[in-house]
Amino acid sequence: MQLVGARFTAATALVGNDLSTLPDFPAEIRAPAGTPHGVSAFQIHFASRDILTPGDYPNTLVAMNPAALSAHLAALEQGGTVIVNEDAFTKGNLAKAGYEENPLDDGSLDGYQLFRVPMTTLTTRATEDVEGLKPAEAQRTKNIFALGLISWMYGRPTESTITWLETKFAKRPAVRDANIAAFKAGYNFGETTEIAATPVEIEPAPLEPGEYRNIDGTQAMAIGLIAASVRSGLQMFFASYPITPASELLHALASRGRFGVRTVQAEDEIAAANMALGAAFAGKLGVTATSGPGMDLKAETIGLAAMVELPMVIVDVQRAGPSTGMPTKTEQGDLLMAIHGRHGENPIPVFAPATPADCFTVAVEAVRTAVRYRTPVILLGDTFLANSSEPWRIPDSAGLPEIDPDFAAAPNTGDEFMPYLRDERGARPWAIPGTPGLQHRLGGLEKEDGSGNISYDPGNHALMTELRAAKLEKLAEELPELEVDADEGAELLVLGWGSTYGVIRAAARRVREKDVPIAVAHLRHVHPLPANTGDVVRRFPKVLVPELNTGQLLSVIRSEFVVDAIGYNKVEGLPILAEEMEHAILEALS
């Protein structure tokens, strides 16, 4: 693609052709096509042996000033990462570059992952203690700061770069120290402010005709929730407490006032969940979003939501590790917590989008399910899905499923209102404040079937436990069947869920190119499982479940269907590579 410019020249800021001597830094760093001397921008192009997703080309534009941005943005792939030196976006520079509005603020970069970094200030400060450094030299270290930042984002080791700087500037101690300081400052800035890399989604499938855009998982989920809100007639109330990487969803929705989206930054995750639940009681679309640590905190409230049987959506953007872990890295470690992470018998649906764009579809589904079944629904995304992007054939909103709040308007038993009288799906009436005659009280104590009054009756507790579980059984029947893409005589089924979709598909293609028959299926509904899941897994002698955890879906499949499925598990905070997946498949077959 035209992105790949002329080899970075000695003239350019970023230490020119010595770059080849920069060890352990597989990225080739190039000047954008037609860069003037004294380059003011550079682009990172990772060789495919490198990280994240196989054969993909995360493209990052580092723009040291507005001119550089205007000159090269067009060339950058949609959804790519734009890192700007915020300090350089002054009125003057903007004018020079022909910007009337500041592109960092006017939303024109919405399609990209934008990082505004005051590089001038930071490098100046980082180098101010270096003895005998000339201001000009200090300034020039900006790019090394950027290199440090990128090293963090793409998980490059730092030692070798530092040694390289040491040797390179051996004769000029001041410059050496300044560059090393700038490099570290850039790297640490990434860690300190929890900046995450933005992989771009792997090879897009052959494209069907239609209108396309590039979209990342965060934007897709935000738009999906908005579409569901408008479609349902339920105004959205989104309460959340910031946490990497889920904060991005809060940011994405906070500016959607046009669609009546009410966002609240709560005092903590417990409050956020309760606010969303309160809004649901009030007749709104209550949504909350967080990541692992916040999910722990929401557990008790989600349990209450399941008990009072109100619609609510909880988004968990999974991040790596237990406890604080590795906040900017990806993992699928929260599946079993989503299913079992509340005391008592507390079943609720758990959905997991397969690709960035799929976040749109699954978000709509989650809302629809929450409303139809009067239940909280957990949406399991992850860092990889949230940040990565893919070309998306824009759906026609007319095609969206109907979502009917079906508010209760009148008594349902003579002139009595029974808040726990259920419909054929097992869903109870949703009567909202303001509706005369339907006043009722909900709560976490076990309730009497029908009336919803407090009940300690043993039989009633057994019955209510059953009825709450029955809703999921009903849902399982309603879910789209699990589709299998199986070759003639396939011995092995590769069963995935969530963000491993792309790499499993890529690996399957590679395996098939070797004429090895296999079957692939992907779960977007992980709890309950689609009704035909058992039949599918039993059809194949071998079942391989690849996951970014130590085998969570695997344990569900084994216990549900008593099949001796095996897992392929990677717990490194990084997605699975196509090579790794391919190898695992062939391994499992041998």
């Binding site: 209108e211 855009r213 309760n274």
Partner: protein, 350 residues
């Protein structure tokens, strides 16, 4: 009704009010508190007050946490939710911030709101969410059979503190003021008239209202408020009236004066003279006066202020904003969604 919305449920309350009675607010559930519990008196006062306030049951919402106090919601024939322990203010915020046509009340205990729920309480007050928080303070954990609470006196002997509790209590009013509460008041369970007046003032206040209600738990902490409760206690009740000099006592013979360090103290009027009495002003922007009042008695063992300590106007959380958004939402159509879907750079494959 101020511009920035009242959030006291009067929204859309135009036209003639339906005639309502106490009965309209009584649910069919049997009240299950211990006989003699102070909660009964409060319930009766609230049920009697509601029709006066004039907001119909269907636009009134009671939210509670867990505890004996929390059972309150089941006895009101309004919309209600008995949430989980300590989270009622957050639950209520979700309701009040998304619906400004409702009157939202929170009923909570001293453990529920000051122990596990402290964070949500202070944030709801800081935000000035339009909810009326009734703290039933019995200085004990009732439902769990009598452990000490953050309002129990230091040295309290309970099942969990057989050698006496080690930690000094909160002063709920002082804490609320420290959390920027715009309305702070106190009353006493059995003082029906005073409870009604105080809660009416809370209902009329725009924004968050915090009302501490001394409530006798006759099973696990009987008599905790005797010094200020019932006939015996009347002389110790310093009844605050905005604009009036602060005086009290059996013959109104005592009053409140300001010390040089800015604090307030009790004095005999004979000694200090009428003119020395501090005149109560509940509307002061600066909190110093209200805090001095709250600190006048740390425990309800002697002269103790009751009534409205502070009631100031400040922007109500969510008001306005929610209305804007609701209008925006009402205007949003699926074709706007299509615009959103097609926003940013798009390209066509044919």
């Amino acid at each position: 009704m101020s511009e920035n919305g009242s959030g006291n449920g009067a929204g859309g309350n135009g036209g003639a009010l339906p005639v309502m009675t106490k009965a309209d607010f009584q649910s069919d559930q049997e009240t299950r508190w211990c006989p003699g519990c102070g909660d009964y008196a409060i319930l009766a006062s609230v049920q009697a007050l509601m029709p006066e306030i004039g907001i119909p049951p269907e636009r009134t919402v009671f939210i509670s946490g867990i505890g004996c106090a929390g059972r309150f919601v089941y006895y009101m024939d309004t919309y209600g939710m008995h949430g989980i322990h300590g989270r009622a203010p957050a639950l209520a915020t979700g309701i009040a911030a998304s619906r400004d046509d409702l009157s939202v009340w929170v009923v909570t205990g001293d453990g529920d709101s000051l122990s596990i729920g402290g964070n949500h309480l202070i944030h709801a007050l800081r935000r000035n969410v339009p909810i009326k928080i009734l703290l039933f303070n019995n200085q004990i954990y009732g439902l769990t059979k009598g452990q000490y609470s953050p309002t129990s006196e230091k040295g309290k002997i309970t099942k969990s503190t057989p050698f006496g509790s080690e930690d000094p209590p909160f002063n709920p009013l002082a804490l609320a003021l420290g959390a920027e509460a715009s309305f702070v008041a106190r009353t006493v369970d059995v003082e029906k008239k005073h409870v009604a007046e105080t809660l009416r003032a809370a209902a009329e206040h725009e924004g968050a209202a915090f009302v501490e209600i001394y409530q006798n738990c006759n099973v696990f902490n009987d008599g905790a408020f005797d010094a200020v409760r019932g006939k015996g206690g009347a002389p110790n009740q310093i009844r605050l009236e905005h604009g009036e000099p602060i005086r009290f006592g059996a013959e109104n013979e005592r009053g409140v004066v300001r010390a040089p360090d800015g604090s307030l103290t009790v004095a005999d009027i004979d000694e200090v003279g009428e003119s020395a009495l501090v005149v109560h002003d509940a509307h002061l922007e600066n909190q110093s006066h209200a805090v001095a009042l709250a600190r006048l008695s740390e425990r309800p063992n002697g002269p103790t202020p009751i009534g409205v300590l502070r009631a100031i106007e400040r922007p109500v959380y969510g008001a306005g904003r929610q209305r804007e958004l609701s209008e925006a939402y009402a205007g949003a159509s699926m074709s706007d969604v299509d615009d959103l879907l097609h926003s940013g750079d798009t390209w066509t494959v044919s």
